[in-house]
């Protein structure tokens, strides 16, 4: 990095104990994306996201810039409305599809929608 680099395997607090820095590296989200799912679709803010694909009502795909190493990683999705369900579908190492449906099971556009991925980077 431009401002220099600190290499350490362990962080130690004066009283609270120590922590392997691998927890910090491995535990950090590798991708996150918050976006408008209604009106003019747009990314509100993000990290490690290259683009968003609007596939149709209630169906969006977040495309990553730096790929994940394996398909065995964790994705969390969320939204800001009641009586709506949000879930992810078939993540690949380079993208994840995020679906939202209303209680009747019909695909539904939500204003605030987000996805977060945790895993190892390629």
């Amino acid at each position: 990095m431009a401002n220099g680099k600190i290499k350490a395997d362990t962080l130690e607090h004066s009283t609270a104990g120590s922590l392997d820095t691998s927890y910090v590296v491995n535990g950090s989200a590798k991708v996150w994306c918050a976006f408008n799912g209604t009106g003019t679709i747009a990314v509100r803010d993000s990290f490690n996201t290259a683009s968003l694909t609007d596939n149709g009502t209630g169906v969006h795909t977040v495309n990553y810039t730096s790929a994940i190493a394996t398909v065995e990683y964790a994705v969390t999705t969320s939204h800001q409305e009641n009586q709506v369900n949000c879930c992810y579908v078939g993540p690949t190492v380079s993208s994840v599809r995020v679906d939202s449906r209303n209680d009747a099971g019909t695909y539904y556009d939500i204003n605030h929608k987000s996805a977060v991925a945790h895993g190892d980077l390629a």
């Binding site: 990314v43 490690n48 996201t49 290259a50 790929a67 394996t70």
Partner: protein, 153 residues
């Protein structure tokens, strides 16, 4: 602000630098494409932080790196990337214009079957437009198709 020398730096670290030092750029461009005759048109929306990286230069790898990784992902039984180093060790590309960045994004995130043959056949399957040119409401979103009269335009 000049981009630090990033060749060999993990792409994730470069993105961390960009997030900290660059303001996001909301592009007005949208890419509308059809990859299945049975499905509605899809719309590719550039990410503002990614666009900032593209315009800055020296951060993103050449798009061909993604194509190489896509070949690996397409292999039967693919479970893990073993050539992720291509993302980090390939010389980053210089600054792009917004239009060049959209072209890069098409080659990265649209299906290859769409952009490699966008000018073949008798049906328009990929259009770059401004967001104002899209329908203003999402009513009947699942019926949206590319206006084929654009071929004559």
């Amino acid at each position: 602000m000049n981009t630090p020398e990033f060749q060999g730096t993990h792409l994730f670290d470069r993105l961390c630098w960009a997030k900290e030092n660059l303001d996001g750029v909301q592009s007005d461009y949208r890419v509308v494409y059809e990859d299945s005759i049975d499905e509605c048109a899809k719309i590719l929306v550039p990410d503002p932080n990614w666009m900032a990286c593209a315009l800055q230069g020296g951060i993103l790898p050449p798009v061909e790196v993604y194509h190489e990784l896509a070949k690996d992902e397409a292999q039967p039984g693919f479970t893990k990337h073993t050539r992720g180093y291509l993302l980090h060790e390939t010389q980053p590309i210089d600054a792009m214009t917004e239009e060049e960045a959209i072209e890069y994004l098409i080659k990265k995130d649209c299906p290859q079957a769409v952009w490699k043959t966008y000018n073949e056949g008798n049906r328009l399957k990929l259009v770059i437009c401004k967001k104002e040119q899209l329908p203003q409401t999402r009513e009947w979103r699942n019926a949206w198709k590319i206006d084929q009269d654009l071929i004559a335009a």
